[in-house]
């Protein structure tokens, strides 16, 4: 299950729950309370319970999700087999392999909007920009976003990615960069 799907399902379940609670409240509002003070006391008791459940729930989610960040220092073995310099510019992607892999097929020279990489090796993309901000969004053939980082002028963002098997992948620009933003894409052939 992709992360997007999990996020979507979680949101859907939450929305259904929120709407059901809202419906219950709307429905209950039709009857006038005979004991308003007791009702209020119960609501505020419930608020304390909700506060603790929410706090514990969010803390647990934080604990779980902050373990798996996409940043370089969160990788146990950040030594990549291949290092690719990626430069975004209006409106194309330039690739240059800085560290060549020990084995496999790969692009030997600087390439534009096209890159060949070997599969099953850890790749470090060193992403930057020659002009404005761009977004380096890595998609698979089915159009699912696998990960991303920003391409910023004057900075290098390091994105580690492991292509498990051969296939075609795509790069789409994910930061608005001007009138050619929607045309700025590249193809990565993993052999």
């Amino acid at each position: 299950m992709t992360t997007e799907l999990k996020a979507g399902l979680a949101t859907l379940i939450a929305v259904v729950a929120i709407v059901l609670i809202a419906f219950f409240l709307w429905h209950s509002s039709r009857r006038k309370s005979a004991t308003p003070k007791e009702d209020h006391k119960r609501i505020y008791e419930l608020r304390i319970i909700y506060f603790f459940i929410l706090t514990v729930g969010l803390a647990a989610t934080l604990g779980a999700t902050l373990q798996r960040l996409p940043y370089p220092s969160y990788r146990s073995n950040p030594a990549a087999a291949i290092i690719v310099k990626v430069t975004g510019s209006d409106w194309l992607w330039t690739f240059q392999i800085l560290k060549e892999p020990q084995k496999g097929t790969y692009s030997k020279a600087k390439t534009y909007n096209r890159l060949i990489l070997p599969s099953d090796q850890l790749v470090e993309f060193q992403v930057t920009s020659a002009d404005v901000n761009h977004g380096f969004g890595l998609y698979n053939k089915a159009g699912v976003l696998l990960g991303q980082t920003q391409a910023m002028p004057g900075f290098v963002n390091r994105l580690y990615f492991h292509f498990p098997k051969p296939g075609t992948y795509y790069v789409l620009c994910l930061e608005y960069c001007g009138v050619g933003h929607q045309l700025m894409h590249a193809e990565i052939n993993v052999k």
Binding site: I43, L58, L69, Y71, Y139, Q148, T168, Y176
Partner: protein, 513 residues
């Protein structure tokens, strides 16, 4: 006596200043609704273009996108700001400074005109948060448009800062500056100077608003300097931080100014008190801090940003969900549970449904504020999905309710029909954004024709969601037009209705308007 008014003006003066505040606010709402309608139509035009039912030149599309973003966020902020000011004047009797407020509104309108000229004639199109250095490195818009829009935005920012300080001064005179954050509730549950929740929440907004305006003014002045002297360059990461301190805080404050209005007006319709106490004070004081620190979540994908700040971004994004929902939503539940309202009135209905939109949009925001999710959701359609939820089905409904109260319309049934229309069409419209986010469709694309996927999976997803979204967005606007008609059925205004600080408790017990 619950509250001590520092300066108690004569009742005649209160009546006059409330009338003046009413006029200024009514003009502000007229301007905001005109902006909303025009920008709403442009929003539908963008979805039509993304759905390939229109074929705009990309330069035109992105200038429309920039205009839509700037004027929608700005316009709705004006509604929130002037709405909160009006309710404060009307319900606390604080000094209105209506002349200053009218002048600042005029300055804002001039600024809006500058933005419109720059984006339409100049086709200025860096997006509403104009990420540095895009305004200066682009061949498709002329240099004058950069100067014009930047100066216009600076003018608007100065006007709003003037408004913030004017309200701050009035509240300080009314309650004493040291009491505005409610800290007196820590020394006594029955403090000598009590403040209403709207006073506390507005004060939080004034402090964070000042931070936002300072940060916004900083980058806009920097932009102006570079526009005058192109040799000047700035650090891209620093500019991004400044932009998002401004943008994130500003958006949240639009919500919170309106939340203050709900605390104040909801009891007028339910007859149940909703007062400040220690929990409310703690919740809003912590919210003041959390909002400012949560903005880091906009920079998760800037891997060079310090990782400790990324951590803080997620922690404070989560934390900001706690006080807001626990205190405000449960307060609202206490207002409506077993109320005995056989038929809901329009105003409390918009407040409650708006709160629902706020919670749903907030949940989707938390999902995206989780770094591991952001890795695959950032800058997909999930982003417009969540912020359109708490704008369109959240704070916009609150603005509709407030304006209905402001003009004193009697057309309950018509307004409720319009509301039902806007809720059904609006959630349908939003669901297309969510679905697009689920399908990894990038946001801010003029069209999806040229995406490189075999059999055009992404193009198909992008276009389908845009087409359905366009139809539902247009239906939402029809509902809004219906609502505008309902505002025409006005009863004689009772602008003399005042709730002075002295009759705070009594005012809260008035059953309905």
């Amino acid at each position: 006596m619950n509250i001590i008014a520092r300066q108690s003006p004569a009742p005649g003066h209160l009546e006059n200043q409330t009338k003046a505040a009413w006029s200024v606010t009514a003009i502000a709402m007229f301007i905001v609704f005109s902006i909303f309608l025009a920008m709403g139509i442009l929003g539908v035009v963008m979805r039509l273009n993304q759905g390939r039912w229109l074929a705009l030149d990309p330069a035109r599309f992105y200038s429309i996108m920039t205009l839509h973003g700037l004027l929608m966020t700005g316009g709705l902020f004006i509604a929130a700001l002037y709405g909160a000011w009006y309710v404060l004047v009307r319900r606390t009797g604080m000094r209105a400074h209506a002349g200053i407020m009218a002048f600042m509104l005029l300055a804002s309108v001039l600024g809006v005109a500058g933005v419109v000229i720059g984006t339409t004639i100049g086709k200025y199109a860096p997006g509403w948060y104009m990420l540095y250095p895009i305004p200066f490195l682009h061949p498709t818009w002329p240099s004058w448009s950069v100067g014009m829009v930047t100066s216009a935005l600076l003018l608007i920012g100065l006007a709003w800062t003037g408004v913030l300080f004017s309200i701050f001064r009035s509240l300080g005179e009314q309650y004493g500056y040291k009491n505005l954050l409610g800290w007196q509730y820590f020394t006594s549950t029955e403090p000598r100077v009590k403040i209403r929740p709207i006073v506390l929440i507005t004060m939080i907004c004034l402090i964070d608003g000042t931070v936002a305006m300072l940060s916004g003014a900083t980058f806009l002045i920097q932009y102006l300097i570079q526009w005058l002297d192109p040799a000047v360059q700035y650090n891209v990461l620093m500019e991004k931080n400044l932009i998002f301190i401004f943008g994130h805080t500003f958006t949240n404050l639009t919500l919170y100014f309106l939340v203050g209005i709900i605390y104040e007006l909801m009891p007028r319709f339910t007859g149940r008190p909703w007062k400040t106490n220690r929990i409310v004070v703690v919740a809003w004081n912590t919210t003041m801090i959390f909002i400012l620190l949560a903005y880091f979540h906009h920079l998760y994908m800037d891997f060079v940003q310090s990782e400790s700040l990324q951590y803080l971004g997620e922690i404070f994004s989560y934390a900001s969900a706690i006080p807001a929902t626990v205190v405000t939503i449960f307060g609202l539940i206490a207002q409506i549970y077993r109320l005995g309202a056989k038929r809901w009135k329009f105003v409390p209905a918009t407040f409650s449904l708006g709160a629902l939109g706020w919670v749903i949009g907030g949940f989707a925001a938390i999902v995206d504020a989780t770094i591991t999710n952001n890795f695959v959701l950032h800058n997909t359609l999930w982003v417009p999905a969540h912020f359109h939820t708490y704008y369109l089905e959240g704070l916009f409904l609150w603005i509709l309710g407030f304006t209905f109260y402001l003009v004193g319309s009697r057309a309950e049934r018509l307004a409720k029909s319009a509301l039902a229309f806007m809720v059904v069409a609006g959630y349908g419209f939003l669901s297309m954004f969510y679905l697009g986010g689920e399908w990894s469709v990038p946001r801010r694309y003029s069209d999806y024709i040229s995406t490189p996927f075999p059999s055009h999976i992404l193009s198909w997803h992008g276009e389908l969601t845009a087409q359905i979204g366009a139809v539902l967005g247009a239906l939402f606007l029809l509902g809004f037009l219906l609502y505008l008609v309902s505002l025409g059925f006005v009863q004689r205004q009772h602008v003399t209705e005042l709730s002075l600080p002295e009759d705070d408790a009594k005012a809260c017990m008035v059953p309905g308007e």
